[in-house]
């Protein structure tokens, strides 16, 4: 039995390697794609584009402006009139505009209320909010109101709130989801399309072994990709901290890829050709990826979606991986994630397994 199992696995692996376009694309996704996402994307409010109109001689206003500096702000751009400034905001070149009118400084020197007008593009809400917060801070400081309270903030697990490592990791997890589903689904549907799947099921070999071996071959492909990506990109280039145990991550990944291939099996059972696989897997994948808690925490979502997310194995996988890499959670506290991935993944694999194994 195990000889048949391994020969099918071998056949599928050779088939995978022979399609050089596919090998190239999969390699690209596990390396370059993770790299680009990690190095390029910055979700933190950084480099906020600030513009200003200064009607004063520029003592106090410059004092405020010089304190808006990197990495949070691009150096403020000067505009000659308020209409020019609003034009730039309308064109989305500037997110926050400050207007110092003529008697801004005069009033301040005379101990009157000086008014600083701020225009914010609220479609970039978090940037706008951060800037406002900064300005409040600066102004409290300048007006010499004495509050002897010191706020000491500790950002746990990721001191600089470094987004790069996080994005690289998230991207890797998304790619694992994507490939484990699509690769498995296509391996089966291609045989269905060519009509060889019925022959496979009619062979004097236990169809369960065939299904298991075929999906296992794709699990091997994805796991290899994970190891390559971890070694070269995630740990090699970005130095993602590993506060927990790496073997825990690999084990969790294995169970997750297993769950993913279960979903792939299910899709393969429903779909008739690769076109339908493409559509179905996008319908399944996109919600899984974006509602997994990687972009928005689960508890901030619409209540209905919160319940839906319980069925997504990616939810447990992402939380578990965050815990392993950043929070350094011990093995014992990881059990909910393992349980979630295994339970949901097991059910999905079983459903797909039974559905695709039926001949009629």
């Amino acid at each position: 039995m195990s000889r048949i199992f391994w020969s099918i696995v071998g056949k599928e692996l050779i088939g995978f390697i022979r399609s050089w376009q596919l090998v190239l694309v999969v390699l690209y996704m596990f390396t370059m794609e993770v790299y680009i996402a990690g190095s390029g994307i910055e979700i933190n409010p950084r480099n906020v584009a600030v513009g200003y109109v200064d009607g004063t001689a520029g003592g106090l206003s410059q004092k405020i402006l010089t304190r808006l500096h990197g990495p949070e702000f691009l150096s403020p751009r000067r505009f000659n009139s308020q209409s020019e400034l609003s034009r730039a905001i309308f064109d989305k070149e500037i997110i926050v505009g400050l207007v110092f009118d003529e008697d801004f400084e005069k009033k301040w020197r005379q101990n009157k209320r000086a008014q600083l007008d701020i225009l914010m593009d609220a479609t970039a809400a978090s940037q706008a909010y951060t800037t406002l917060n900064y300005l409040q801070h600066i102004i409290l400081d300048i007006s010499k109101v004495n509050i002897p309270v010191d706020i000491v903030t500790h950002k746990l697990f990721n001191q600089n709130a470094d987004n790069h490592t996080f994005m690289a990791l998230t991207e890797l997890l998304s790619i694992i989801t994507m490939l484990s589903i699509i690769l498995t689904a296509v391996v089966f549907v291609r045989e269905k399309e060519q009509g060889t799947w019925d022959l496979m099921l009619l062979m004097p070999v236990n169809p369960k072994v065939i299904i298991l071996a075929k999906s296992f071959s794709q699990i091997i492909v994805v796991m290899t990709g994970i190891v390559i990506s971890l070694g070269f990109v995630v740990l090699g280039t970005f130095n993602v901290p590993v506060n927990g145990s790496l073997s825990a991550f690999l084990l969790l990944s294995f169970f997750f890829v297993f769950a993913g291939s279960g979903i792939g099996l299910f899709i393969a059972a429903v779909a008739r050709d690769v076109m339908q696989v493409a559509q179905l897997s996008i319908v399944v994948m996109m919600p899984m990826i974006f509602l997994s808690g990687a972009w928005t925490p689960i508890y901030a979502m619409h209540p209905v979606l919160q319940y839906v997310s319980y069925v997504s194995p990616l939810r447990y996988y992402i939380e578990g991986s965050e815990c392993i890499f950043y929070r350094g959670t011990e093995w014992i506290d990881l059990w909910p994630y393992f349980l979630g991935v295994i339970a949901v993944g097991g059910v999905m694999y079983l459903i797909g397994f039974r559905k695709i194994g039926r001949l009629f």
Binding site: H137, V149, F166, V274, Q276, D333
Partner: protein
């Protein structure tokens, strides 16, 4: 192009699409994505679970605690527990932030001695971590300036005006961007398989043997998908306006024209992929790669283009999603329309993109066996 032949081929393609189960997907997929993301993505941090450890239990500390309790951003719980226990709660992802008010907080504050408020934020999710940090600081600063308002001399008042999205609704900020994402992914994924499917099945030989020209073949593949997806432009608009209640301040015509152009671009990308790939699986993975991820990253949903620096800034300009989304946000929230030179320029760029991808696809398409 010969009209009769083209018409016949388009009819064949259209009936093929209509007969397969695909037709449901053409309309189901965009709507489903829109609803899921519209309800599922929240950029602002609300209901962050925050644990306040109040070791002082005085009037001032209660004042501060109540500030947190009344903030819509936090679900505050006041507890008495040790530092280690609180840390464990964060490690188990049951709490997002801890605020520690020291024992002699009020006493020291009234005497004018410096005190410290300890804030521990879970930054395993970096962007949320720093957003929470600013919110926490905002609340504390707010409380502080309330207290010290007595000593007003030479103060500066901030008069803020939020443009385009006065209520700071998340839906307004996200839903227009989603249309840009959905209309990039859905047409491209169908178009990407049209030609490569024939290659894998062998029916492409019909085309090799027929007198059909390359341009006619591409046009026959493009037009049915284009027509079917044009209806989605209106379906998505209806969801945005009536379900998510996003305001519509610009011109409907601009929205329509820009969207048709954009669908044209995304189908051209799909066809180009279909021409260069040999198997369907590669086409699927490649399409997912060049549409979903950049579509989300460079859409302006999670980060404004003006804040990108270095490589990602150039990359954002390479993908068409940026140009369309600029027009989308203009149409929904800003309402400048064609008066803005940037919008005019972006329309032209979109048209150029479509023409470029399509002619590349036509050139690379082969009409003979290699």
């Amino acid at each position: 192009m010969r009209r009769g032949i083209l018409k016949a081929y388009i009819r064949k393609e259209l009936s093929e699409l209509l007969r397969s189960r695909l037709i449901i997907m053409v309309y189901l997929l965009p709507t489903m994505l829109m609803l899921l993301f519209g309800y599922g993505i929240r950029m602002e941090v609300t209901h962050a679970r925050i644990a306040i450890i109040d070791n002082d239990q005085s009037r001032l500390s209660n004042l501060l605690v109540s500030k947190f309790e009344h903030s819509k951003y936090f679900d505050a719980t006041t507890t008495v527990m040790g530092e280690a226990e609180a840390l464990r709660k964060i490690k188990q992802a049951q709490s997002d932030a801890i605020i520690m008010i020291p024992a002699s907080f009020e006493k020291r504050l009234l005497k004018g001695q410096p005190t410290q408020i300890g804030v521990f934020v879970d930054a395993a999710f970096p962007s949320r971590g720093s957003t929470m940090e600013t919110y926490v600081q905002g609340v504390i600063l707010n409380a502080a300036s309330d207290l010290s308002s007595s000593e007003m001399k030479g103060s500066i008042v901030i008069n803020q005006r939020t443009l385009f999205n006065q209520a700071m609704r998340d839906e307004d900020a996200i839903v227009p961007g989603l249309i840009g994402l959905v209309l990039l992914v859905a047409p491209a994924i169908i178009a990407a398989l049209l030609i490569v499917k024939e290659k894998e099945r062998g029916t492409i030989f019909n085309f090799y043997a027929s007198p059909l020209s390359k341009a006619e073949f591409i046009a026959a593949k493009l037009i049915p998908v284009f027509l079917l997806h044009s209806i989605n432009i209106f379906i998505l608009l209806l969801w945005a306006l009536y379900l998510f209640e996003v305001p519509f301040r610009g011109s409907f015509w601009l929205y329509w024209v820009a969207s048709e152009l954009y669908i044209f671009v995304s189908i051209s990308i799909g066809i180009l992929i279909s021409v260069i790939t040999r198997t369907q699986i590669v086409a699927v993975v490649l399409t997912v790669m060049v549409t979903i991820i950049p579509g989300f990253m460079y859409s302006g949903i999670i980060m404004p283009i003006s804040s990108m620096v270095g490589m990602s800034r150039y990359e954002a300009h390479v993908f068409p999603v940026m140009y369309y989304n600029h027009i989308l946000y203009d149409v929904f929230l800003v309402g400048e329309g064609l008066a803005s030179e940037k919008t005019q320029l972006y329309l032209v760029i979109l048209a150029l993109y479509g023409a470029f991808f399509l002619s590349l696809g036509t050139i690379w398409l082969r009409k003979e066996i290699r």
